[in-house]
């Protein structure tokens, strides 16, 4: 529908100037669609997108005006150059968190700008290079006006379609989870670093394409394409339009590129309008224009899929998991100090100890969120110690967190389906398997509800379903009963027994002895990172060391 409006607009307002503005809007729409991938979906505020845009522009400008290359050759190069820079700087820079990443990418952009201004031999320096040829498509020299606008918007349509299908698919869902909760994403088998890098690189390609089209529109390339206002425009378009939405990028670009026309009295400083629009949107409408439209015209909820049991994963013979001499220190304090344990198929092992005894650290070490200083984590003959969380998750270990983390914006079904993104072929299949896991915990009626606003007990249930949906061989639970009523605890104990009965090995960190001791077949007690007791649950209360260290503290 939006496309029809645009076409009608282009034909009705076909003044050369109006078409030029529309063409430039298309250029920025393409850049913003790419920016939505890394910023909107991936949550990384890249300030290098002006640089990627400028690199695409300079690649086309230099090759076209100085070397006489045609569009068919310059356009791919304009995609390739930003891609290469993104891959080069992406690996180290993407590890940085939020504003470190933003300012590091701004630093990259400033370096590229400095190089362009100070290499007059190559770039024409501050004056830039004139004489960039127009677009030639299959032998047809695209004239300015309506044809150029149509070609640019053709690229927007292509790029938009690709980005839209990616965002709706498994990859987009995975990226969103990486944005909302990178720790959980890793433990659900998603390669956080790889997803971020791919998003960064792909969005750089979009920026390069937009930069190339911008230069073909202007017929000159100058350092302006590398200056901060380009970045500001792309960011503003994405935020005002609606973060993460392709439609938002297009809507934002058309609106914001036309705003200065309505605010002509501001002359050159139309960017004030951008600043005000950006500030107002962030404060008043965090989901942007598409968010407002969604509220006016709410989408009908999709029908629930038929639940389907996910395929079992191969379970090795013998003990499922053997931990040997695991050690971890934080600045001189031994948080975990030579802990060994064995988890057999179908058993429930309790892990207890006073606060700060290293229980959660042990779970983090096994699931790969912390790197051990020493020791081994053996599963089916392979040592998992020190591997990345997603590798460990793929080996068959799932976990829940002490502080339940669910993406607030997602529905319960989508949140649980995140556990299957790495394994299943499609979203539909992942959701069918997710519904199966919810059903198994008696929580299928929650499927369509949003995660935000769920009471604590149900959040824990949903998180358990998410771990269960992975069909894990080993399930690590960090205080699953915290905050539950007695009735809910009894119900949870029943569910955990049922999960163990299917052959999964459970390791349960818990403070509530009344809940844990009847449930566990084996109990390990830690104190200051060291094993204090390992044996049957009946022995815990009578073990003098445990009583002294722990039960005496009022359990």
């Amino acid at each position: 529908m939006m496309l029809a409006v645009l076409v009608a607009y282009a034909l009705l307002y076909a003044s050369p100037y109006g078409l030029r503005v529309l063409t430039v809007a298309g250029v920025y729409a393409l850049a913003a669609v790419g920016f939505q991938i890394v910023f909107g979906l991936g949550g990384a505020l890249s300030l290098a997108h002006g640089a990627f845009f400028g690199l695409g522009a300079y690649a086309t400008g230099i090759l076209g005006s100085q070397w006489g290359w045609g569009f068919a050759a310059t356009f791919p190069v304009s995609l390739l150059v930003p891609l290469l820079l993104a891959l080069l700087v992406g690996l180290p820079v993407l590890r940085l968190e939020s504003h470190y990443f933003a300012l590091a990418t701004l630093g990259i952009a400033q370096v590229v700008h400095l190089l362009a201004v100070n290499s007059p031999g190559l770039t024409g320096g501050a004056n830039g290079l004139p004489g960039v040829p127009g677009i030639v498509l299959f032998g047809w020299a695209v004239p300015r006006g309506l044809p150029l606008a149509a070609v640019v918007w053709g690229f927007v349509a292509l790029g938009g379609l690709l980005a839209w299908s990616l965002a709706r698919g498994r990859w987009g869902r995975a990226l969103t989870l990486v944005r909302d909760d990178p720790l959980a994403a890793g433990t659900l088998g998603l390669d956080v670093g790889g997803l971020r890098l791919a998003a960064f690189a792909l969005s750089a390609v979009y920026a390069g394409a937009a930069g190339a089209l911008a230069v073909h529109t202007q017929r000159v390339v100058s350092p302006e394409v590398l200056e901060f206002p380009v970045m500001v425009s792309v960011l503003t378009i994405a935020v005002v339009g609606g973060r993460g939405r392709v439609a938002g990028a297009i809507l934002g670009a058309v609106l914001l590129l036309h705003l200065p026309e309505w605010f002509r009295f501001l002359e050159r400083s139309y960017l004030i309008v951008y600043g005000v629009a950006l500030l107002a949107t962030i404060v008043l409408a965090p989901h942007g224009l598409t968010g407002l439209l969604d509220r006016l015209f709410p989408a009908r909820p999709a029908p629930l899929p038929m639940p389907a049991a996910p395929p079992d994963i191969a379970v090795p013979n013998g003990p499922l998991l053997r931990v040997e001499g695991l050690t971890k220190g934080f600045g001189g304090v031994r948080a975990v100090d030579g802990v060994s344990l064995t988890l057999e198929a179908g058993t429930i092992t309790g892990l207890i100890g006073p606060n700060g005894s290293g229980k959660t650290t042990l779970v983090n070490l096994i699931s790969g969120l912390e790197t051990p200083d020493g020791g081994r984590v053996l599963m089916g003959g392979a040592d998992l110690a020190g591997r990345r969380p997603d590798r460990i998750a793929r080996a068959g270990i799932a976990r829940t967190f002490q502080a339940v983390s669910l993406p607030d914006a997602a529905s319960v079904l989508a949140a649980v389906a995140a556990a299957r993104l790495e394994r299943d072929g499609s979203i539909a299949q992942a959701e069918a398997h997710a519904l199966w896991a919810l059903e198994r915990l008696g929580a299928a009626d929650l499927a369509a509800k949003p995660c935000a606003g769920l009471p604590a007990a149900l959040r824990r249930r949903v998180e358990l379903a998410r771990a269960l949906a992975r069909q894990p061989a080993v399930l690590l639970l960090d205080e699953p009963a915290a905050g539950l009523t007695d009735g809910e605890k009894a119900e949870l104990a029943g569910h955990l027994r049922a999960i163990a009965a299917t052959g999964t090995a459970l390791l349960v960190v818990e403070h509530d002895m009344g809940f844990l001791l009847p449930l566990a077949g084996h109990v390990l007690c830690l104190d200051q990172g060291r094993p204090l007791y390992a044996g049957p649950p009946e022995g815990v209360r009578s073990d003098p060391a445990v009583v002294a260290a722990y039960l005496g503290e009022g359990a």
């Binding site: 939020s98 300012l103 630093g107 370096v111 400095l114 960017l271 962030i282």
Partner: protein, 294 residues
């Protein structure tokens, strides 16, 4: 002697950078928010000096000195405005929201200045006379001495305020743990407003001081925010003395490299250093796991 000359110039520049970085790190500590507008606030301080210059009374011996309290006061007010518009409504939202809102505030400042003053470089009046002093062959601009003296005074004042007064204790408590501070009866919102006012006033003072020696343009803030950021990164995130030391270090580096090679090379090397530090030691050269903050 040339080296000594460079050292004095570097110290003066570094003293101004230190004010910028100090304001940045105070707000960062109190709110865990990165104030991206800090560079543009420096520019705003300089432009205020430019705007006020025609109104200075010329019958006083050092009319420029009047600028300092006026600019500090006006900038503190601007800081309150910034906090009210770009921070307080977003404090329950992810840090990136504040980051973007301060980018927006910076854009508004930058382009507002461009409308009012045009793109040409402008100079603010000097605080002391505009001349130079000859200290046994070492020629020092009076403004350089003014920069060093004002920065030293303001930094010492900040240290005294935070270290010795009841208000300072409350400000520190807010920076350390706002929830805990609130539970102890500290009016956290007021403390945050004061911190923004202080940080913005420091940026404004730096802008006023620099705009006489180095001129000011509406877009001058872009490089300054990165320099403040580099100073804070070198000094370790969240460390006040670290930010001051980092600012002095990068100013000396900038002046040194500029004199031997050129300013663009110095700037490029600074940014490259930033990237290397971030990748190798994201917690800063002297900082400890401050990375987990914010």
């Amino acid at each position: 002697m040339i080296t000594l000359q460079l050292l004095v110039n570097g110290l003066a520049l570094g003293a101004a950078y230190a004010l910028v970085a100090l304001g940045f790190v105070l707000v960062l500590n109190a709110t865990a928010a990165v104030n991206f507008a800090q560079g543009d606030l420096v520019m705003a301080g300089g432009m205020l000096g430019v705007a006020l210059a025609p109104h200075l009374p010329d019958h006083l011996p050092l009319p420029g000195l009047l600028l300092l309290p006026v600019v500090l006061t006006l900038m503190a007010g601007l800081g309150l405005l910034l906090a009210a518009a770009a921070y307080l409504p977003l404090r329950r939202r992810p840090p990136v929201a504040v980051f973007i809102s301060t980018i927006a505030a910076g854009i508004i400042l930058q382009n507002g200045a461009s409308v009012l003053f045009g793109p040409e470089p402008r100079a603010a009046p000097p605080l002391l006379g505009g001349g130079t002093l000859d200290l046994g062959g070492l020629v020092v601009a009076e403004q350089s001495l003014a920069i060093i003296a004002v920065a030293a005074l303001l930094i010492a004042g900040q240290q005294w305020l935070f270290g010795r007064t009841q208000l300072g204790r409350r400000l520190r408590a807010t920076a350390q743990d706002p929830e805990m501070a609130r539970a102890c009866g500290v009016p956290v919102t007021a403390m945050i407003l004061i911190t923004f006012a202080l940080g913005t006033a420091f940026a404004g003072a730096a802008g006023l001081l620099l705009a006489n020696r180095y001129f000011v343009t509406p877009t001058a803030g872009g490089d300054l925010i990165l320099k403040a950021y580099i100073a804070v990164t070198i000094g370790g995130w969240g460390s006040v003395p670290g930010a001051v030391a980092g600012a002095l270090l990068i100013a000396l580096f900038e002046v040194g490299v500029s004199s031997v090679l050129s300013y663009p090379v110095a700037l490029g090397l600074l940014y490259a250093t930033l990237l290397v530090i971030l990748v190798a030691r994201p917690q800063g050269l002297f900082g400890e796991a401050a990375r987990r903050r914010a």
